[in-house]
Amino acid sequence: MSSNNHEGVQKFVFDSIAIFGPEPEEISREATLESLDVDSLDLVELGQLVEEKYGVRLQPQDFEDVSTVGDAVDVIATKVQ
């Protein structure tokens, strides 16, 4: 399934983050979660969306070293693949 590849995961994460509040044009791999006002509760929700879509469960510590959207995409893509 093509959405499981890195590109598919990235699109999924971008779309999910847009639900939390940021404007879609603000969201890029380089944007920090802090600058987008994405907080720990949003990351929990992102984890739920990932679980529902890909069937993998993320733990809060998986996001420990995540500071940009790209970091989050990479963590999730690694889990999914």
């Binding site: 639900i19 939390f20 509040g21 006002d37 509760l41 929990v44 929700e45 739920q48 969306l49 679980e51 529902e52």
Partner: protein, 422 residues
């Protein structure tokens, strides 16, 4: 203890529109905000007042509260910052059903999607304190904050609580009010089963054809300040709350005692605290739900308390034009009461055309009346009654101040709520 607490800001989102003045002006003109038997805040657009994140993280009753708070704080001239140390500002918001509709939606989500569909903040947003928390977070209020849960009297009970906090010296100011947004099939079904809600969808308090209340939603918020703080900073003094009285019926889950004993007790307690005589009151903003029981019992209580003066005092019901706002009612109606005092205009009990035998007070039928003149050198005084399911009875006593009312409306910048006044 008569020490008055000063009202420096008011804000209301109601089925008559956005803004406290809109509520008064439209009501005084005899307009009704009820459509298809429901009092919805159709003119309220959350995105005008809240950021996308705030909208996602707040139930509707808290969203209405934030909008009403913005209006009230603007009026109080808090836009440049809080008027005192944040530790000296509290927040109390009453509600009846709180996040009922959010819970209902999430119950369906849980059935359809399971645990992964439940938002992380499900519990936090569904708590009855979430409106108070939203306000406290946005404005950085660090005095005590909490929700008051007293059914149809909650909004007035919140004001009573704020009065005690200020008079007791715990804080210098309180953002206080009530909010409700629980229009749902489940709520309506339950109210239908017990015969509380109008089958024909018409609110006509004190009319002999009345058959129950109309469910409404909305929020009312007041900024209250100690007399010292208001004076020091030259705050706009819209009015004063000079007394509060409350009681419990200890009688029945939903019905008032037929002799009105609980409301009579609350009325006398309010008069005592305000140090006034019943004859000093010009206007009563009635609880006036349009249920057969309330309107009969409330009339009886007013006759008992006011005695011969009962036929002189003006009595009207805001619920005739917006329906019953449950936990918001007490706060919204306190605001409507203040507007009547300030404009010297008593808005009418709309829909009252065929009085019931014995319900023969001046219920201001058909159209607005000029507020009765007080004795020379006396301020006009009005009271607002709120009686709740569970037997909560509350009465607020108010006087007008000199500052003009302001016209409300969303902030010019639109959303951007997170950058709001601190």
């Amino acid at each position: 203890m008569r020490e008055p607490v000063i009202i420096t800001g008011i804000g209301a989102i109601t089925p008559l529109g956005v803004g406290a003045s809109v509520l008064h002006d439209r009501w005084a003109a005899g307009e009704c905000g009820i459509e298809d038997g429901i009092g919805r805040c159709a003119g309220f657009e959350p995105a005008d007042w809240l950021s996308k994140k705030e909208i996602r993280r707040t139930p509707r009753f808290a969203q209405l509260t934030l909008a009403a708070t913005e209006e009230a704080c603007t009026q109080a001239r808090w836009t440049e910052g809080l008027p005192c140390e944040p530790e000296r500002v509290g927040c109390v918001i009453g509600t009846g059903l709180g996040a009922q509709t959010t819970l209902e939606t999430q119950a369906v989500t849980y059935v359809e999607r399971g645990a992964v569909g439940i938002p992380p903040l499900q519990v936090a947003t569904a708590l009855g304190n979430s409106a108070a928390v939203s306000v406290q977070l946005r404005y950085g209020l660090k005095g005590e904050s909490y929700g008051v849960v007293g059914a149809c009297a909650a909004g007035a009970q919140a004001i009573g609580a704020a009065l005690r906090m200020i008079r007791g010296g715990e804080v210098d100011a309180v953002v206080v009010g009530g909010a409700e947004a629980a229009i749902s099939d489940i709520v309506i079904s339950s109210l239908q089963i017990i015969g509380a809600i109008s089958k024909v969808g018409i609110s006509r308090p004190f009319d002999r054809r009345r058959d129950g209340f109309v469910l409404g939603e909305g929020a009312g918020v007041l900024v209250l300040e100690s007399a010292d703080l208001a004076r020091q900073r030259g705050a706009p003094e819209l009015g004063r709350i000079v007394g509060y009285g409350a009681s419990s019926d200890a009688f029945h889950v939903t019905a008032p005692p037929p002799d009105g004993a609980g409301s009579i007790q609350a009325l006398f307690a309010a008069f005592r605290q305000a140090e006034i005589e019943p004859g000093d009151v010009q206007y009563v903003n009635a609880h006036g739900t349009s249920t057969p029981l309330n309107d009969r019992t409330e009339t009886l209580a007013l006759k008992e308390v006011f005695d011969s003066h009962a036929y002189e005092v003006q009595v009207s019901s805001t619920k005739s034009v917006i329906g019953h706002l449950v936990g918001a009612a007490g706060a919204v109606e306190a605001i409507a009461t203040l507007c009547a005092l300030k404009t010297r205009t008593v808005a009418p009990t709309v829909g009252l055309e065929e009085p019931e035998e014995g319900l023969d007070l001046n219920f201001v039928p058909r159209s607005a009346q000029p507020l009765r003149e007080p004795e020379p050198d006396h301020p006009p005084i009005a009271i607002s009654n709120s009686f709740g399911f569970g037997g909560h009875n509350t009465v607020l006593v108010m006087e007008p101040g000199a500052a003009p009312l302001h016209d409300g409306g969303p902030p010019d910048e639109g959303a951007g709520a997170s950058d709001g006044p601190r």
